[in-house]
């Protein structure tokens, strides 16, 4: 389905654009962090250690004025003391207010963000593209109806809607066992990752409309192409259930003009949109966690929220996850740009204009 020309375009664009390379680097970084978190993290991210709390990151050791109450000469006095707070190499990015290692939290936090981002996008795409293709392909009243529903959804600001839905459905979270722990490679790390199910459904519900719009536009364009007429002429129906073979086993699979002709020709802008949506959903999830509406316990947004109170003193608690969000979102958007530039004006380029 993907022709040689596409690969070539992608490669050419990659070579040409420095930003695309940067995007790939960032995304690979983030994905590696998420996947290999148990191996990369120096500590269990949930392990608290009060005596090691508020340690600064390496290079940021400082001397602070601390006031404590002490017994001096039988009286209780407030004494200013110079305390040296030294960064420790076991906690390269410092620790938070309860002594949890910031680096480990950031690495594990990538899991949450990526899981929600990718799964949320997939769900939104599945639903949105289906709706959009049907609306665009059939047109008429079907289109009118579906698009009005979409418009109604768009009328709600996404964050407000998300909060409302999470409020209604509670924060269902699922524990997914971590393969590294299960294999015994990292016994000291958390044994499972918490996947915030509600949040995933909610972000998908909030974002499907963009996919529907794009898919509808493409479907409108494609449906008047002659190869659609040709497919009808050879007897293909618009939609039917057929079989596909997965590893030799027949599996029910949607067939027909919409899935076999319209969808493949609509993919390009959908893919570009999907990458951008992953970034948007990561931001949305962070916002929800920040506000306390997520079910996850390890999330960048959550850390920012918790670190909010310490911005003037232990600024790294909030800043490091913040930077992680920026890197992730920028990286994903750059990849989106790369895809868009490479795949636009489209795989089927016309004959030369000469």
């Amino acid at each position: 389905m993907v022709s040689d020309r596409t690969w070539r375009n992608l490669w050419v664009e990659l070579r040409r654009s420095h930003l695309a390379k940067l995007g790939i680097v960032l995304v690979v970084l983030i994905v590696s962090a998420a996947v290999f978190a148990p191996l990369l993290a120096p500590h269990d991210p949930n392990k608290t250690s009060p005596e090691d709390s508020n340690l600064p990151p390496l290079g940021f050791s400082e001397t602070k004025n601390q006031s404590t109450t002490q017994m001096v000469d039988g009286e209780i006095k407030i004494v200013q003391q110079q305390v040296e707070v030294n960064a420790q190499p076991e906690h390269p990015l410092g620790t938070d207010h309860v002594g949890r290692d910031v680096l480990s939290r950031v690495l594990y936090g990538a899991r949450t963000s990526l899981l929600v981002g990718v799964l949320g996008t997939l769900l939104a795409a599945l639903f949105g593209v289906s709706v959009g293709l049907i609306a665009g392909f059939y047109g008429g009243r079907v289109d009118d109806g579906l698009m009005r529903a979409a418009d109604i959804m768009l009328a709600f600001p996404s964050l407000v809607l998300a909060i409302a839905l999470v409020g209604i459905w509670d924060q269902q979270a699922y524990e997914v066992p971590d393969p590294f722990h299960a294999l015994g490679i990292t016994p000291n790390m958390p044994e499972s990752t918490v996947v915030p199910g509600t949040v995933i459904v909610v972000v998908a519900l909030v974002n499907w409309v963009w996919f529907a719009r794009v898919a509808r536009g493409e479907a409108l364009r494609v449906r008047s192409e002659e190869y659609i007429k040709a497919a009808r002429a050879s007897g293909m129906r618009d939609f039917e259930w057929g079989r596909a073979y997965v590893f030799g086993y027949p599996v029910p699979f949607p067939k027909g003009i919409i899935t076999q002709h319209v969808l493949p020709n609509s993919l390009t802008p959908i893919i570009v949109l999907a990458t951008i949506q992953v970034a948007a959903i990561i931001l949305l999830e962070s916002a929800l966690s920040f506000l306390g509406f997520s079910g996850a316990n390890l999330s960048w947004g959550l850390d920012i929220s918790q670190g909010r109170n310490y911005l003037s003193s232990s600024w790294w608690i909030a800043t490091v996850p913040g930077i992680a969000i920026v890197l992730a979102v920028v990286g994903i958007n750059l990849i989106g740009d790369w895809l868009r530039d490479a795949l636009d004006p489209g795989i089927d380029q016309g004959e030369g204009g000469v």
């Binding site: 190869y227 002429a233 050879s234």
Partner: protein, 471 residues
Amino acid sequence: MTEPLLEVRDLEKYFFERDTYVDRLMGADPVSIKAVDGISFDVYEGETLGLVGESGCGKSTTGETLLGLQEPTGGTVQFDGDDVFSLSRSGRRAFRRNAQVVFQDPFSSLDPRMTVGATVRQPLEVHDVGTRDDRRERVDELLERVGLSADQYDRYPHEFSGGQRQRIGIARALALEPDFLVLDEPTSALDVSVQAQILNLLSDLQDEFDLTYLLISHDLSVIRHICDRVAVMYLGELVEVGPVGEIFESPKHPYTEALLESVPRASTDERDREVETLSGDVPSPRNPPSGCRFRTRCPQVIPPDGLAVDQPEYRQIMDVRERIEAEDVDLDSAWEHVAEGQPSTTLGPIGKYLGGLGDGAEQYREEHADAFVDRLEERLVDVDLSTPHDRRVREAFRELANGDWEAAADVLATEYETVCETVQPVLQPDADHPAACHLYDQPPAEDRASTDASDGVGSIDAADAESANSD
């Protein structure tokens, strides 16, 4: 004469505009575009019938509708004895195996995301023909037969030239071994030298596989070259049908004649050839002329019995009539022209004032009516009219000086009404070379086939028809 393979009777396909929710709310009536308005013809086994006409005449829509790719608004199509529009699902499936189509645009008739092999294989998959290997073999065979090579199976359409892509389209159409092919402008998008290759290929394939063709085209030379019989369409109706030699050598219908004359010949004598060009443009299919649709441009429009007028004069008078009836004459600018020759007035936007009400204006119009009429005559009448006709026309113009369109139209209508506008001409049934024109004997009213919209397939509700789409 054997039974025809395809029998089309009173086929109709209307498109409706202004049919969305909002329009209904506003109470607007749907406007119908009568793309195909009651046509009937037969296609016999083994022949090539050409369907020719200019853009907007409905020929492509006819092709698509008779294959069931569009929902008809009325009429019947019998293929091999079966009524196409009332087939069951399995019946339809079988019909698809027997009747296929080759499309016009080689650049959009192939799915750019599918390999060429997959495209040609698709009909076989849809109809579950043979095993996977069988299908592959058949596709290889087809690719070779149309002049490509089997090892191009995994290439994508954009790697081929227009002519090659059209070959792929032909291979796809032949995959299911159909008896009947609709060729919808198969060579119009191709270069001339490639066109010749494709036409030869189509000819060979017809002989080899005993195919019947319906060739839809606007290109008369292609039609002449490959067709046995020809049907000429104008604005949704058939105006003439006949054997190719007769149609080209002795065309009956004035439109056919005009069409033939307009085609430039690639020969050195072409410069000296006198061509009588048709005036005007094709009327809108939303509002076709009454009676014979070609009458607004027909150089041989029939004057009423007993009227002493020669043909060019009559055509000129009819042109004027049509303009008046369509209210398509700019009266204001005529008044402005008249005013220009006058000593200056203190009137503001003169034309509108003069065309409007008010005593002063009326008096002005009275005084200068002759100048106005002169001006209109200058603008609208190119042919010299003999005195009685000239007088009549001027009388009509005089009514226009008062802004009275209806009266002006009446003046001319009573004197110059033609059978071409009152009675719709039809193709003579059971004739070899019928022409829908009053110049030829028309069957009496009782014998005419019904052209009622509710014939054949039940009347399709406007609500279920698609939104407007052009030919």
